[in-house]
């Protein structure tokens, strides 16, 4: 079956790939572009570890048909650090022990970034709501919630 040419922006860089019909964005990112930061968890939209931002909006890459991102901007965890410097959310996750096995962390960070990008001073309830589509089986969520709130207060201190 013929492949389809697909171009989009991946973490600020233009990429061009060929995809099979029906390929999801997660497979395109991991297997065709080599960005291993979004993870495959359930493939059903239940776990959130494949979360990416499409034009700044949180989406599940495993449920996104790859060719629907043609011409759009896709941001993954790989793109949020600034050179050697961790993103404030990554720093806060490390400082607050918000990752244990780490499998949910890429999705948690992208869900948290989607929140802070539009609401730099969220309440605790807003943080809980923002990560409600992401499952963590290690931490019990509290360290993750604390980390997101800590990252928000760091950005407040800088502002």
């Amino acid at each position: 079956m013929a492949k389809t040419a697909l171009q989009f922006r991946h973490n600020g860089r233009d990429v061009a790939i060929f995809v099979d019909g029906g390929t999801n964005l997660l497979v395109a990112l991991r297997e065709l572009i080599g960005d291993m930061t979004p993870k495959f968890g359930c493939g059903q939209g239940g776990c959130g570890t494949c979360s990416v931002l499409i034009d700044g909006e949180l989406h599940l890459s495993c449920l996104t048909l790859a060719e629907t991102v043609a011409g759009r901007s896709v941001e993954t965890l790989d793109g949020i650090k600034d050179g050697p410097n961790l993103h404030p959310l990554q720093r806060a996750f490390a400082d607050n022990f918000a990752a244990q096995c780490g499998y949910c962390t890429p999705g948690m960070l992208m869900a948290a970034k989607a929140l802070l990008d539009r609401n730099s001073q969220p309440s605790r309830a807003e943080v809980v709501e923002a990560i409600s589509g992401n499952i963590c089986r290690c931490t019990g969520y509290e360290p993750i919630i604390n980390a997101v709130l800590a990252a928000a207060s760091v950005s407040r201190a800088r502002a």
Partner: protein
């Protein structure tokens, strides 16, 4: 297995492609069809898409609300005129699912999903569909009863009359995981008042049958009465009549029958 993806700019072309191929599915937000593909559903060999702006439209300014099939739950939550629909929209998925999942797709979501459709059933919505023979308006109950045979029709929009007052429409979803999780049961009630009497009561239940159903016995208990304690008790007792819930990992059929009246009582008393 690779599938063929067909993308059209008009809903008419998409509907024609959909109706001419039994193994074709319409891709909306992806939360149902991509999930099926990820699970290896070999019954799907073609994906049909439409980039038709009409399917993305929200018209909520007048007394009649029309939601294009491609309207996402996140967009409903951003619409102040649709505040009465925020509880059902918010009860679906996490933020990513709400950014993707659509009103049209929800009509096809089987238990324990499809909560928004329960709200639409309570509001007596009309589904605009386009098949091979042109477009038509279908009452939502009729649409749901033949849902299994509707994969070849394209849903264009859903429309309904805006509730006369904020209090007239009520919704609650019972889930084990909050704020996100599949439904144990879902309840929606529309109680238009004429003076102090309920006229045109509609009560809809999700996960109490293979498709969302109306609790007609509870509706009869409410009709023409004022919403007082004895009316609420009668409706709560009648809620289970005519239901046929199933067992799943979230709850047993027995449990669903036990709790449906309890939650209807709370919903009608303003406790949920």
């Amino acid at each position: 297995m690779p599938v063929t993806v067909k993308t059209f700019t008009s809903s008419g072309e998409a509907a024609a492609a959909l109706s001419s191929d039994r193994s074709a599915r319409y891709l909306g937000g992806g939360t149902l069809v991509m999930r099926a593909l990820n699970e290896g559903d070999v019954s799907i060999s073609t994906i049909v898409r439409a980039n038709d702006h009409a399917m993305m439209r929200i018209d909520a300014t007048g007394s009649r609300v029309t939601l294009g099939a491609g309207v996402t739950f996140a967009r409903i939550l951003a619409e102040r005129d649709l505040a009465f629909l925020h509880p059902p929209a918010r009860s679906i998925g996490g933020p990513a699912v709400r950014n993707m999942g659509t009103v049209g797709g929800n009509l096809f979501a089987s238990n324990p999903y499809g909560d928004f459709t329960v709200a639409m059933l309570a509001l007596d919505a009309t589904v605009s569909v386009q098949g091979g023979l042109g477009s038509r308006e279908v009452p939502i109950e009729e649409f749901l009863q033949s849902r299994e045979r509707q994969t070849g029709t394209l849903v264009l929009a859903i429309s309904f009359t805006k509730p006369a007052s904020a209090d007239a429409f009520r919704y609650c979803k019972i889930a084990r995981i909050k704020p996100k999780g599949g439904a144990v049961i879902t309840l929606a009630a529309y109680l238009p008042m004429n003076g102090s009497r309920i006229v045109g009561a509609r009560v809809a239940l999700g996960s109490m049958a293979p498709i969302p159903i109306r609790a007609r016995a509870a509706e009869r208990a409410l009709e023409g009465r004022s919403l007082d304690a004895s009316t609420i008790s009668a409706a709560a007792t009648a809620a289970v009549e005519g239901t046929s819930p199933g067992d799943n990992a979230l709850a047993s059929a027995w449990y669903r029958r036990e709790i449906v009246g309890v939650h209807l009582r709370r919903l009608l008393s303003g406790q949920e």
